[in-house]
Amino acid sequence: MFKKYLCKPMVTGLMAIGATGAVAAQAQTIKLVMSPPAVETNRYWNTPGDFALGPSMQGLVGHDAVSGSYDNSGLADSWTHSEDFKEWTFKLKPEAQFHFGWGPVTAADVVHSLALHTGPDTTLNGISQLEGAVAEAIDDHTVTFTLPAPQVDFLFVHGGRGSLVVYSKAQFDAEGLEGYDAMPAGTANLQYVERNVGQGLNFEKVVDHWSGEDANIDRLELIFVSEAATTLAKLLAKEVDIVILPRELQGEALDAGFEAIPSTNASNQTTMLFNGSFLLPGYEGLDETLPWLDIRIREAINRSIDRVTMIDVLYDGRAEILPVFGMDPRHEGYVPELAERFEAEYGYDMDKVKALMDDADYPDSFSNPVIPILSSTLAGNPEFPAMAELMQVFLDEAGFQTEIVEMDWANLGALRTAREAKFFHPMRNLPVKPSAVGIRNYYSAAGAPRNNYEDEVIEGLMTKYMASIDPAEREELAGGIFTRVFEQYAVAPLASISAEVIVNPETVGGWVFPGTTSVGISHFGSIVPAE
């Protein structure tokens, strides 16, 4: 049986109050502390996607705060696509207005924004989905995207984790990029006030917002703090109202009477990868000494991880065991049986581990039996070093020879690009994405060079999956790939976690956000101040 690892009770308390109807009694500023974004800029296309201008800017498609599913709370009222999924047409909301009097949102703004986002200096995660896309303004409020290949998941590009944010063409024509740097006009119910470089960003409420739904708060201050102990100190001293805190520190804040608000849906998946498992026949770059090329070793490693303890240590007990990395109930190819089979096939079982290792004759018949576990520093993933040490504890216990290799994320990136990252390494917390994106990035040669696992069966299914536009068939193909991934122990999936914020209940009454952006938080206008 697949055991659900239950959330501790205190985190759910606040969610019920958070509906949008509640209005603040008095003027209220909410201060929110987060890690500094990787790139501090007002130009979204120069960031990897961790955009701090989320409170003021929007894409075409929005998300329902509770379910997280796509809805028309963005700039588009409705959309249609051609039968082959190569042509998508969006009807813009005619009432949508840019801030600071830059006028209505039109199709020209969308065309302009696509050009900015796909320019030579773009660094956006997922921008490959827009490669070769052509946007055409049909009329003022209708825009059509023509794609070089079918994209069933095209809405993803326009949603919370997407790659296209709508900037004002009128502002660009009048002021150029400098205008965006100084005072970028967005469309949401909070608007940009100022950026204090190295410190944060301020926003304020738009009075009588075009959407009819004004923000509940008057002012939002995002404060950048990189040291987690400092973030916690700011909360405990009640200097700020909301913080994003590493899991291991959350307990301290909860003990002191602060409360956790999780995203309504799981937001991220975590895993360890057996990188270098390029098992396509004839691939010359394969390093045959890697111990985990033997499926018995991959299974043994998976089974030596006590996931319940792991979730306690790394996520303060508030996460769920993840059966397949990349698979999510909200996306194509979800196979519920895999979750049911998990305990039997991946469960912590030292006897089985010993049997597998004996069967594989580990370490004697391995020329290079040492498992290098990577420990890295990456903003937003403070648990990586602890994760590496914990994995070493589990693997040592099972009798594996291990070593920890420390390396910063950029260097790991370079090795991954060179297909030389021969480590058992953690992955940047995977935001829940359409299945095709996850499969491409991790399990298929289509994601080369930076993938980590390839095999013939998956490749066969993937070719069909990429070409297919029949929903039932796609569902089945993606499911087939996930089943193969599961059965091959292609990775060591760890946990499915929600985005969480810790709030001061004296000042914050509630906040509902679906966990659909890369920073996890969104729907800032719906933060409800406490009575």
């Binding site: 790139v39 990897p48 956006l124 990029l177 470089v197 903003a379």
Partner: protein, 306 residues
């Protein structure tokens, strides 16, 4: 005198030139910024186009010469992490914060260390002397980041006397400045003490005492004035270590100065900013030491050498 100044100045320029080369090479050793800038699913075309966009495909020496040429006029290129600003703008924008904090730290260390050093010398071997020595040493005996966090917990979270962190007025500066200053106090106290001991031992001071000048005047007017030159020479070193100290304290206290900037820039492989900030640190240090040397030569002409 002029010759001395000119010699020191030219030496400084040579050092600076060598430093530019080291700085340039180093930041290129640290790997391509491409890997930290581009997303995980970057395509080869994307990699190639960004490489060209940043000029990273040109030969090494061409990049260095271009760098030197531009650096001479203060142009270090566009920041890759703070898009929309040049590297020099980014550094200049963060500079005042560091200078404010560093200035306060210098002030605190002087105000604490000079009297402590003088009194220790006057009461050599007393309990005060020994205690002062230990207190001064405490600051050097703890890792600065830990000292900073402990100060923050005690004085900001528990007692609530100061804000925990962030950029602001004097109240925001006190904790990080004390953290930075404490590290310096031991050295400055010790220097003052030994300089005072030497001066107190001179005929000049003994004579003043015999003449019946009151003790306070002997210490501060006669002795300290002559001893003060020694701590002054320390300011060159102080300047350098304050900048280094700013890296840690600014990180802990989220103080938006050049130290925090340097860390962010290295982690984000923002070459232009790394180069300008390291060069700035080096120039600042060289300049401070140059001034100290000149000052020293003016006060005590015997010292000229090199």
């Amino acid at each position: 005198m002029l010759r001395f100044v000119l010699t020191r100045l030219s030496q400084m320029l040579v050092s600076l030139l060598v430093i530019t080369f080291i700085v340039f090479s180093l930041s290129h050793l640290t790997g391509s910024p491409i890997d930290s800038l581009l997303p995980d699913d970057a395509t080869p075309q994307q990699i190639a186009s960004l490489t060209e966009h940043l000029g990273l495909d040109r030969p090494y020496y061409v990049q260095y010469l271009t760098f030197l040429q531009n650096a001479a006029v203060g142009d270090f290129g566009d920041s890759t992490k703070w898009k929309g600003s040049t590297a020099a703008e980014v550094v200049l924008e963060r500079l005042p914060a560091t200078l404010q904090l560093g200035g306060l730290a210098v002030l605190i260390s002087v105000v604490a260390a000079i009297p402590m050093g003088v009194m220790s010398a006057v009461r050599r071997g007393s309990i005060f002397d020994r205690m002062a020595g230990v207190v001064a040493l405490l600051g050097q005996s703890l890792p600065a980041f830990w000292l900073g966090i402990v100060l923050m917990w005690i004085f900001a979270v528990i007692l609530g006397w100061f804000p925990t962190s962030g950029y602001g007025g004097l109240t925001y500066m006190i904790l990080p400045a004390v953290g930075m200053a404490w590290f310096q106090i031991a050295a400055l106290t010790r220097l003052t003490r030994s300089a005072m001991l030497e001066v107190l031992d001179t005929e000049y001071v003994k004579l003043a005492r015999i003449k019946g000048v009151n003790e306070r005047q002997v210490i501060w007017k006669h002795a300290f004035r002559n001893a003060a030159i020694v701590p002054i020479t320390y300011f060159g070193v102080l300047a350098g270590s304050l900048l280094t100290g700013s890296v840690v304290m600014e990180t802990v206290f989220a103080w938006p100065g050049t130290g925090l900037l340097a860390i962010d820039a290295i982690r984000g492989r923002d070459f232009p900013v790394v180069q300008s900030v390291v060069l700035f640190f080096a120039v600042f240090y060289l300049l401070a030491n140059f001034l100290v040397d000149v000052l020293y030569a003016i006060i005590d002409p015997r010292i000229r050498y090199g």
